[in-house]
């Protein structure tokens, strides 16, 4: 598998606060990576550094081997990433249908695997709420819409930041089911979530961040792993 996106030696700051300390992080095509760590350890900052939302002061970000460090966020996203941010990011003046239609575009290789119809088949609840404003949906429906909107861009890499946070267990299960089926289609993903047990079974690789540094990067974690107990608190 070739590397799709990689950050090398990333040092990111918020003002004088040094948040990422020389992180190396990469995702290969088709790979599902779980990004784990307690709150404030740098998970979201790492994602934002990769996407150019926050520019690292040192280090390099590459996509398919091309240097995209310092590039505009929209230009990085256009290279095949769909980003579902924490908080879902609904627009209160757009309906469900408008959210989906505005994002529709073929993948970088011309793929149109994810169509409007397929999204509605995947999330039948959305089909019932097409005329509703995005912010008038329940939390679970908003999350489905956020994922559906992301898939409408036919991405190579899907980034899910706390996709199941604050959702009822039944809805959460539904979201995980969809994420599993997305994985089966060969789309790479980076998943940030507090549900460690699900991540252990789902992801191909696990990366644990502690205070802005990678303390674990591998695929042999189990629920009993000492490092999980020490750094995640499981």
């Amino acid at each position: 598998m070739t590397t799709f996106i990689a950050g090398t030696g990333l040092h990111t700051y918020y003002g004088s606060s040094h948040t990422l300390h020389g992180i190396d992080f990469a995702v290969r095509r088709g790979e599902t990576v779980a990004l784990m760590g307690r709150n404030g350890m740098g998970k979201s900052t790492l994602l934002k550094s990769l996407l150019g939302i926050v520019n690292p002061r040192q280090g390099k970000v590459t996509m398919n081997g091309a240097d995209v460090t310092g590039a505009d966020t929209h230009a990085i996203i256009r290279r095949g990433i769909a980003y579902v941010p924490e908080g879902r990011g609904m627009f209160h003046n757009l309906t469900v249908r408008e959210h989906l239609v505005m994002s529709a575009r073929p993948g970088n290789d011309g793929r149109r695997d994810w169509t409007y119809e397929r999204i509605l088949e995947t999330f039948p609840r959305l089909a019932e709420r097409l005329g509703s404003l995005g912010t008038h949906l329940s939390g679970g429906e908003q999350q489905m819409l956020a994922v559906g909107r992301a898939l409408m861009t036919n991405p190579d890499l899907l980034i899910l930041d706390e996709a199941t946070e604050g959702l009822a267990p039944l809805i959460r299960r539904e979201i995980w089911h969809v994420i599993r089926s997305i994985k089966e289609t060969g789309i790479a993903s980076i998943i940030v979530d507090k549900n460690v047990n699900v991540l252990l079974g789902l992801a191909d690789r696990h990366v644990i961040l502690v205070k802005g540094e990678v303390v674990y990067d591998g695929s042999d974690l189990t629920p009993e792993s000492e490092i999980l107990k020490r750094h995640i608190g499981v």
Partner: protein, 331 residues
């Protein structure tokens, strides 16, 4: 932009039909004032076009421009400068030429101002607007501070056959009405397109739109250019109506009036700012006829509407006809 409730669409259609019928029965209702009112309504419909074009920027894209009148004035000045002194200009030549010039000017001003935001954007557009004002005020290009006359209305002909006589007040009234309806429908189509949805989303959260892979600068620039060009069309029509242009049409006072129309009508609703133009101009006319200190009650009315109807008249209508507000963006 959400679809309008059916009952509200019907109400607006009835209002347009009544406007269309006014020239036919106006002299029965207002025998002494019919001609004056018809001219007044023509001017209001043209201002409604201007207000809708500003709504695309302020209410939809979140770009509060205080220089929008510059494009309105430029549209009028283009007609004055392109018209022969004592014969009629060809509308099929001068209208596209004027719109192209205004579009280029809008794109240039937009390009230089779009990268700023908030108060800085307001200041930059205000500065560009005032540059336009002083350009025409202080140069001898088109009469300087005295302005310029359009002695003969443009001719609307095909193969030598006159289609419309723009010198006829009733004809011009229907041209104004056609512009009002045509621009409204055009902007509805634009806002219903994927482009329009992205612009609407930018007005809510620009960073979120960037995170979806769209370049907000490009979208805002195109919206700014479309809005400016439509304002130029309004200015062009106003110049035909009054047969005169002066630098005041480009001034920030005029931009401010258009902004008040948008706020009174309800930002982001498109039909609201058109209603706002009617509310503003008719109230102004009413207060002027009662007192020479008309600005005082006018100010009180504006404050009252803003306090009581924070989403404007358009927001109130949406609430009444849909049972709940579908216009959360119009803050």
């Amino acid at each position: 932009m959400s679809r309008l409730p059916r009952s509200l669409s019907i109400l607006l259609s009835v209002a347009i039909i009544l406007l269309g019928a006014y020239p036919l029965f106006g002299d029965v209702l207002f025998p002494n004032k019919h001609a004056f009112l018809m001219q007044k309504l023509t001017g209001i419909m043209i201002m409604a076009v201007m207000a809708m074009s500003l709504d695309l920027l302020v209410g939809v894209a979140g770009l509060v421009s205080m220089g929008h009148a510059a494009f309105f004035g430029l549209g009028g000045y283009m007609l004055a400068m392109l018209s022969p002194e004592y014969s009629a200009a060809n509308l099929w030549v001068v209208l596209p030429a004027a719109l192209v010039v205004v579009a280029i000017a809008s794109a240039m001003v937009g390009y230089l101002s779009i990268r700023t935001s908030g108060i800085y954007f307001i200041m930059v557009t205000l500065a560009f607007g005032q540059m336009g004002f002083y350009f025409f005020n202080d140069s001898k290009l088109a009469g300087g501070s005295d302005g310029a006359y359009i002695m003969v209305k443009p001719a609307v002909e095909i193969l030598g056959v006159s289609l419309l006589n723009l010198g006829d007040k009733r004809t011009l009234y229907y041209v104004g009405l056609g512009a009002l309806v045509g621009v409204y429908l055009l902007l509805r189509v634009v806002l219903a397109s994927p482009f329009g949805r992205v612009v609407s989303a930018i007005g809510v959260n620009e960073n979120r739109v960037r995170g979806l892979g769209f370049d907000p600068v490009a979208y805002k620039l195109l919206a700014f250019t479309i809005g400016g060009t439509i304002a130029g069309l309004a200015g062009f029509l106003a110049a035909i109506q009054y047969g005169f242009v002066n630098p005041a049409t480009l001034s920030w006072h005029h931009s401010g009036e258009a902004l008040v129309m948008v706020i009174l009508g309800g930002m982001g609703t498109l039909f609201g700012p058109a209603i706002g133009a009617f509310v503003f101009e008719l109230a102004k006319m009413g207060f002027e006829s009662v007192t020479e200190h008309w600005l005082l009650p006018m100010g009180a009315m504006i404050i009252g509407i803003v306090l009581l109807l924070p989403k404007g008249v358009g927001g109130l209508l949406l609430q009444l006809f849909s049972g709940r507000s579908k216009m959360e963006g119009g803050q």
